[in-house]
């Protein structure tokens, strides 16, 4: 970590306190075997179920760069072999939605259209490869990391767990208005760093591992620190 001149960096009135996210998976006992039962399950599912198969999926696969972005898309493509529907479902970027309800409606719209376009009988999952709807109990846990300025932020970003990074950069968008995350909100409101806030909001977990995104985010913060110190 480079040494910086503290006086040149804006110090926040309130530090950014990092939390970690943990989740306990809960089986609902509900299954889908084809597109209509998947649609029915998504329509009826409580919000934590939609969360588990979208945000939970992205978090579980944080070291990989899977082709898909949610469990529904993966199952439709790999098990039902409905490639076109799977592709459309995979294109849904959960982190761009303001609420789980909006996210659910996108899945419902794609599946409803696919069912309308398909004449029965629908393709059925082989025995043992049904889709199992899961729920999640989410836990938020304090960590020892906090940031008062950009230097602290860059240092903490290198140390926090991937679950903490995911929570503050992506999942927290569900809690804020206008597509902001915890981190972009703090960068803008506490440090006045609008451009950095926009760069954080533009990060996309689809097709990239969280470790890659972490490196990119640290690079962005480091460059901003260098710019400030040059002035």
């Amino acid at each position: 970590m480079k040494t910086v001149t503290p006086s040149k960096l804006t110090r926040a009135k309130q530090p950014f306190r990092f939390f970690s996210r943990m989740a306990l998976s809960i089986a609902t006992g509900t299954q889908a075997r084809d597109l209509p039962s998947l649609l029915g399950g998504i329509r009826a599912a409580p919000e934590p179920v939609i969360y588990e198969h979208t945000y939970g999926f992205l978090q579980r696969h944080r070291f990989l760069t899977p082709e898909t972005t949610n469990d529904f898309a993966g199952w439709v493509a790999a098990v039902l072999r409905e490639d076109r529907v799977g592709e459309r479902l995979a294109a849904i970027d959960a982190t761009r939605y303001r609420s789980i309800q909006e996210l659910r409606e996108s899945f419902v719209a794609i599946l409803s259209r696919a069912i309308d376009e398909t004449a029965p009988p629908y393709r059925t999952a082989p025995e043992g490869q049904e889709f199992h709807f899961m729920s999640a109990i989410r836990y938020s846990l304090p960590t020892t990391y906090e940031a008062w300025d950009l230097a602290d932020l860059a240092k903490a970003l290198g140390k926090i767990g991937a679950a903490s990074l995911y929570l503050h950069v992506f999942e927290s968008m569900l809690r804020h208005q206008e597509g902001r995350s915890d981190l972009s909100w703090w960068a803008e409101e506490e440090l006045g760093e609008s451009a950095l806030a926009r760069a954080i909001e533009a990060l996309d977990p689809a097709g990239q591992s969280l470790e890659f995104l972490r490196a990119r985010l640290i690079g962005t913060v480091d460059r901003r620190i260098a710019d400030i110190l040059r002035v």
């Binding site: 943990m22 809960i26 089986a27 070291f63 199992h132 729920s135 109990i137 938020s140 020892t144 926090i160």
Partner: protein, 408 residues
């Protein structure tokens, strides 16, 4: 026995800190584990490692074993098979023996811990004592109960529903129940003899001592000689692949002395392999953990072409060693392997043959699968994740199992 801090180099300081912070929520709580055997089998193996780690974290964890006679274990073996889906003839006398043994253990066990954590069906009926207890009870089911024999499940289910929660290993093993079913996958211990890091030359030395030549790429399946592991299918797949590429096949498993069908399958495998010098068959003692570790590490590809599987932790063992794995898409294996990202899932002999050739001919792709597989195991199938989720499950039950979001 490994201590928690020793895992930091593998899973990161942050994971250890998270576990320690979680454990503060349970400081001083008493957790009693109860199962039916102190040695042998996966449950005892896990408890042997888990209980000391819980104690190290300041939780008063303990472990009791129920006592039963031969008749009881004969009955619970029948239950085990029936819950796995095999047709069993369970008589009224069998149910009586089960109830009677659980009743006699009820008199000896102090089941007043904050959390009573009962493992598997054998002691499940101990829950009948909970009427007088204000504490929390969790039933941990380590077996695949996705397609149980109805009669056995109907007998067990009323007991299970007296618990506060059940823990199953896979979403596919969940049943329709009136209580929450937490999904916690099993794990491997990266510091055990079977999985710890081995110097490559040491590994080669161990394997050569077993009489296994390493002059060609080694394609290996580690599993019991059991039809459900499809050893004959593995030989057929290798034979098809071998026409286009040069390699050896190694089938290695435990002895089959106590299993008449296993001995028969072993003989069939030997017969099928007899005239092929590129196929090696080895039966090793069940304590050969270091040998298995070495074999997996020197192999070029690992197969697990199962036709049915519980969770299939041999897959996690191989992935942890950074090996490309080709495995049947059954049981818990698809939880471990994302097809073409962290391994290869196959559905047929022909599919296995195709992918053996592909991976032997594309070492860079095979290496990438192995790297992804290792990270997937690091995140999802190591003992530390298992420990963390047990802590979360205890917290979940102690808080009343009602909340969807908890700020600790």
């Amino acid at each position: 026995m490994s201590r928690l801090r020793e895992y930091a180099g593998i899973v990161g300081e942050q994971t250890i800190e998270e576990i320690e912070t979680l454990a503060t929520c349970l400081a001083g709580k008493t957790i009693l584990n109860v199962n039916s055997t102190a040695v042998g089998g996966g449950v005892a193996e896990i408890l042997n490692r888990m209980v000391p780690l819980l104690q190290e974290l300041g939780i008063q964890a303990s472990w009791d074993v129920i006592k039963g006679g031969e008749a009881f274990y004969a009955v619970t073996k029948k239950f085990h098979n029936a819950l796995h889906g095999a047709k069993q003839d369970i008589t009224p006398k069998d149910y009586h023996v089960y109830e009677e043994t659980n009743d006699s253990n009820l008199e000896k066990l102090a089941l007043d811990s904050d959390v009573v954590f009962i493992h598997d069906p054998q002691p499940a009926a101990l829950v009948k004592k909970r009427q007088a207890q204000p504490n929390r009870w969790i039933w941990r089911c380590h077996i695949d109960i996705s397609r149980p024999q109805a009669e056995a499940w109907e007998f067990l289910k009323p007991y299970v529903e007296k618990y506060d929660a059940a823990v199953v290993s896979s979403p596919a093993f969940a049943q329709k129940l009136a209580i929450p079913q937490v999904v916690i996958a099993p794990s491997i211990d990266p510091l055990s003899d079977k999985n710890r890091e081995l110097d490559h030359s040491l590994a080669r030395g161990i394997v050569e001592k077993l009489g296994i030549p390493l002059d060609k790429p080694l394609v290996t399946q580690v599993s019991r000689f059991d039809r459900l592991k499809d050893p004959l299918g593995v030989i057929e797949a290798f034979t098809q692949a071998r026409r286009a590429t040069d390699a050896r096949l190694l089938l290695v498993g435990g002895p089959a002395d106590d299993d008449p069908e296993g001995a028969q399958v072993y003989q069939e495998v030997l017969d099928r392999a007899r005239n092929n010098p590129d196929i090696i068959i080895r039966a090793l003692p069940p304590t050969s953990h270091l040998d298995i570790n070495a074999i997996q590490r020197v192999s070029t590809i690992i197969l697990q072409k199962s036709l049915r599987e519980g969770f299939g932790l041999t897959v996690a063992e191989a992935l942890w060693k950074g090996k490309p794995v080709i495995a049947g898409a059954v049981g818990g294996i698809p939880q471990q392997i994302i097809h073409q990202h962290s391994g290869i899932l196959v559905h047929s002999v022909e599919g296995a043959a195709y992918w053996i050739k592909q991976l032997l001919n594309n070492p860079a792709y095979a290496r990438k699968l192995g790297e992804n597989g290792r990270e997937r195991v690091r995140e999802n199938f190591l003992l530390t994740r298992h420990l963390k989720e047990y802590l979360l499950a205890f917290i979940f039950c102690l808080r009343g199992a009602r909340e969807e979001f908890v700020r600790l």
